[in-house]
Amino acid sequence: MIEVLSLSKTYGTEPAVSGLSFSIPKGQITGFLGPNGAGKTTTMKMLTCFLPPTSGNAEIDGLSIHEHSLEIRRKIGYLPEQNPLYEDMNVYDYLHYTAALRGIEKAKRRNRVLEYGARCGLKDVLHKQIGTLSKGFKQRVGLAQALIHDPDVLILDEPTSGLDPNQKGEIMDLIRHLGDDKTVILSTHILSEVEAICERALIVASGKLVADGTMSELKSAFSGGQKIRLGILEASQEVVMPVLETIEGLSLHSFERQENTLMLNLTFASEPDIRPELFRLAVAQNWVLTELYREKVNLEEIFRLVTTS
């Protein structure tokens, strides 16, 4: 659906995006991550045909941003950073106006506004002036604006910045529901959001792609394997370890004794989940397990790892 081919943008002599390439299949929700100034916004502006790239190309649904700018814009719903709105208009008029600019037939505009107003939870504020709305509602207006022409592709630049935790949750839920059948790219630096709704993450730093994959791919690629914490009642390390070492790839990281329990920190280099095997082994050996826990790899750690090196 979205093909980016060595896209570059230079502001003066300052490269903002350099040789970025990635591809996003139809229907995927992709998180676009990176520190501030990494080139996320610039990339999004090029995809929406706002900024022309210095070199390289991007194709959306087979259409090039160089030659089919208008066609691409029709396919895209865009929520720019800071969510700009005409504060002096009321919600209904504003959505009606964008529906008209998006080329929705006159007879259908009213229904479209009411439909997307309702879907985005704006029913009660349709006739309020945008400038008087809270930030959460403004963000909903911005989303409704991006969705009003039912685009195939949604490009959302930091859709939750500046919102309180409740509003963030609501907006993320909206994106998840409304973006169900759409290809979505959303940029953010709130990693828990990406973990919650994105199938895939692209991490950029200094204008270059530094990591790309599904959440579990990224985790296993950057965590150095599974980290397992195992607690066995009344056992000694000398007895347990030789048995455990029969599992190929499993190694002991550290161990400690807590009262009558032996706590082991193990690492296992690859997937799949090693816990079922450990459990079966414990049953066979008649060990009493008090703990069998796989440490969750934090996306934040991966983020820090790949963007600071």
Partner: protein
């Protein structure tokens, strides 16, 4: 042709929003009221105090009035959209940049035409009172309309240079003033240069039209001036330095 009409219809959607915002706020009313007050005062003065039945003062006044009022109408055109970030939304709609520029120009033009058309009341009064030079009046109105349009394009250009409305106003005012003064500075220059400079002045061509001679050269001059500033505006937008 159909495609072109469709594109202009799209522009008109933006124009309608602009016009609505002129009249939702005070700008539209303030400009219209002051324009009418000032033209009315000058018209009344000559009619009742000097006993001259003519609309000439209105034509004479217009360039000065437009110099102050038109930049007030155009200052927000791009500066405000830039400041609030909505320019990015507008320029990622399925529209060409020129459609956006045309939309802004149409909005200001409509307001100028409303202002000008109110002054037709004075024309009817003079016509009822007797001798009116129909040719000069027609020429004067065509001149006013063209002059207003030219000011609008210059003001929109000024607005595309900045994100600050006040700066846009001042820039617009200065550009319009410079073009207004060009033909007046001609006598101070050597003849060869003076002729060129005179020809570039907006007021020179406005005065030609006011005499009732509708010359293609004057029409062509205004068309080129508008095209020039229109293209300069497009160039500014294409830089996308929002």
């Amino acid at each position: 042709m159909n495609v072109m009409l469709h594109k202009i219809a799209q522009s008109w959607l933006i124009t309608r929003r602009e016009l609505k915002s002129y009249f939702d706020g005070l700008t539209g009313y303030v400009v219209l009221v002051f324009f009418l007050l000032i033209t009315g005062w000058f018209f009344g003065n000559s009619l009742f105090i000097n006993n001259i039945a003519t609309v000439q003062q209105i034509f004479d006044m217009t360039p000065l009035l437009f110099m102050f009022f038109v930049p007030a109408l155009t200052m927000g055109a791009f500066a405000e959209e830039r400041r609030s970030g909505t320019l990015e939304l507008l320029l990622t709609m399925p529209l060409r940049d020129w459609q956006v520029i045309l939309a802004k120009l149409l909005a200001t033009t409509v307001l100028c035409l409303i202002a000008i058309s109110f002054t037709l009341v004075y024309v009817f009064i003079i016509a009822a009172l007797g001798n009116m030079d129909a040719g000069a009046t027609t020429g004067g109105y065509i001149g006013m309309a063209l002059y207003g349009l030219a000011c609008a394009v210059m003001g929109i250009y000024a607005s595309s240079l900045t994100r600050n409305q006040i700066v846009a106003y001042l820039l617009g005012f200065v550009i319009i003033l410079v073009f207004f003064l060009l033909d007046k500075s001609a006598p101070l220059l050597p003849a060869s240069l003076g002729n060129v400079v005179e020809y570039l002045g907006t007021d020179y061509h406005y005065n030609n039209l006011m005499r009732g001679v509708i010359d293609t050269r004057d029409l062509l001059y205004y068309a080129s001036l508008m095209l020039f500033f229109g293209l300069m505006t497009a160039h500014n937008l294409a830089k996308r330095d929002v």
